[in-house]
């Protein structure tokens, strides 16, 4: 019996020492990690709304539910309200749509009137060299900027695609169209309410 006790104790001691060491490292590293995540978040949103200086996530359950249902079949993951100097200047919508090699995570910036201010890709798994042309072909993402307020799926469909990576390009177009729909259904109503 004493022998197996010695085994259990030695494993226990190792676990305790390891756990304490890791907890301490985590305590030191945790603030840094949050800081980095927030910065990364900030950078991705600022990419689509250059003139905004602050973003705060929208928590209003009911609004998010309406927007998510409007954004089908793409899945809407988050909505942020973009602000400059305290006043609201538009929205940043995070959407994930289906590309060639799997889900593509995008961020679409919309100003208060509903026209697109920018589109950026957070992560995707497209085939290097083909699917990644949506990134390397500068004109592709730029063509979405300036979509008129109240644009709908047909306007997005009218924009051209990249030869050789249609499915990846369609993925991005679906994302932007979804953001447009979400804006019409949910955000617009929200904005009028704020004005009265």
């Amino acid at each position: 019996m004493r022998e197996s006790l010695r085994l259990v104790v030695s494993v226990l001691v190792t676990c305790m020492v390891a756990a304490t060491g890791l907890a301490l490292t985590y305590a030191v590293a945790a603030p840094r990690i949050e800081e980095q995540d927030r910065l990364a978040q900030e950078r991705s949103l600022k990419a689509v709304m250059p003139e905004a200086d602050g973003f705060d996530a929208v928590e209003d359950e009911e609004l998010i539910k309406v927007a998510t249902s409007a954004a089908e079949p793409a899945t809407l993951t988050a909505i942020y309200r973009a602000k400059r100097g305290g006043s609201e200047i538009g929205w940043a919508v995070r959407v994930s749509s289906r590309g060639y090699g799997g889900p593509m995570h995008l961020v679409i910036g919309l100003d208060t009137s509903g026209s697109v201010t920018g589109v950026s890709i957070l992560s995707m798994n497209e085939t290097p060299g083909l699917g990644t042309k949506v990134l390397s072909e500068k004109w592709f993402l730029a063509q979405f900027v300036g979509l008129p307020p109240g644009f709908d799926d047909q306007d997005v469909r009218a924009l051209d695609v990249i030869a050789g990576s249609t499915r990846s390009a369609n993925g991005i177009r679906d994302g932007v169209a979804a953001a447009g729909r979400a804006y019409d259904k949910a955000l617009q109503g929200r904005e009028e309410a704020a004005n009265e």
Binding site: S4, L7, V8, V11, L12, T14, C15, M16, A18, A19, T20, L22, A23, L24, Y26, A27
Partner: protein, 293 residues
């Protein structure tokens, strides 16, 4: 500041550590398998090559069954008498005699056999045999890519310069894997013979004599000279091929001398007329190749 975090972390990991090591140490005791030390000894005596000749997956399985008396002491065919005696000593039981057998090749053609097409594929007899019956014209003869050489767990077989597998009778344990592995094993290209079989017919052909002679210079032409010559009536021409009845054969070697094709070789484990590596091949050696080419 984060004492709570450390406490929770230490708590979580030590719970997992505790549970896992406790389970392990109790399992070590409960599942302790008491191994009969005789099994280890018997396993040590067995050849340990898991050849499967005795029909069991591995020698360790045989050792366990022998100790549990489910298998006779001389179960190991490959090990032969030596192993049987060793096991009997461990088990304290009398060792029965083991019918020792060895493998033999019924073909003398090899390089001198006519090729029906040039083969450049995977160098394995099984693969070549599937391609229109193999690259050699004779559909009973040895293709020579050495599947038997690779399969033999006791590496008792080696290819000679004629491209034919030569079986070293000292190392051969009669496990029969080469016969199973050879694509023409079922039609007795390789065949298990009693270890004392004094002669072996180096031909396996059953097609017509004229066709046979066209394909290979070393074939048996069923001239019946050996049948008439044999004093103990041990060799007969059956289905146009000389077949030896090893019960009657006394090993006088009369048939070897009289065969015009020199297609019968001396053989057998302790037959001193046979070269150490059991080749003793007169058939297919140089002067017959010249005559037959």
């Amino acid at each position: 500041m984060d004492i709570v975090l450390i406490a929770k972390a230490v708590g979580a990991l030590s719970v997992i550590g505790l549970v896992t090591s406790a389970v392990l140490s109790s399992a070590a005791r409960r599942f302790h398998v008491e191994v009969d030390e005789r099994v280890e000894e018997v396993a040590a005596v067995l050849p340990g090559s898991n050849c499967g000749a005795c029909g069991n997956p591995s020698c360790f399985a045989v050792a366990e069954m022998v100790v549990a008396e489910e298998l006779p002491v001389n179960a190991c065919v490959a090990g032969g008498q030596k192993v049987a005696n060793g096991i009997a000593a461990i088990m304290g039981v009398g060792a029965g005699d083991v019918a020792a057998i060895v493998s033999s090749r019924h073909c003398g053609g090899g390089g001198s056999c006519i090729r029906s097409y040039g083969y450049a594929g995977v160098r394995s007899c099984a693969a070549a045999n599937k391609l229109a019956g193999g690259p050699i014209a004779c559909s009973f003869g040895c293709i020579g890519f050495g599947d038997c050489v690779r399969a033999c767990p006791f590496n008792a077989i080696a290819m000679d310069e004629r491209g034919l597998p030569v079986i070293d009778l000292e190392k051969c344990t009669g496990c029969g894997i080469c016969v199973r592995e050879c694509p023409r094993g079922q039609i007795h290209l390789l065949q298990m013979l009693p270890e004392k079989a004094p002669v072996v017919v180096r031909c396996n052909a059953h097609d017509k004599i004229k066709v046979r002679k066209g394909n290979c210079a070393m074939c048996c032409i069923a001239c019946k000279k050996c049948e008439r010559e044999c004093p103990s009536d041990a060799i007969h021409i059956i289905d146009m091929l000389a077949v030896v009845d090893y019960a009657k054969c006394t090993g006088c070697g009369a048939c070897v001398e009289v065969c015009p094709q020199r297609c019968i070789d001396l053989y057998g484990r302790d037959n001193d007329a046979v070269a150490a590596d059991g080749a003793g091949a007169t058939c297919g050696s140089d002067e017959t190749v010249k005559r037959g080419a």
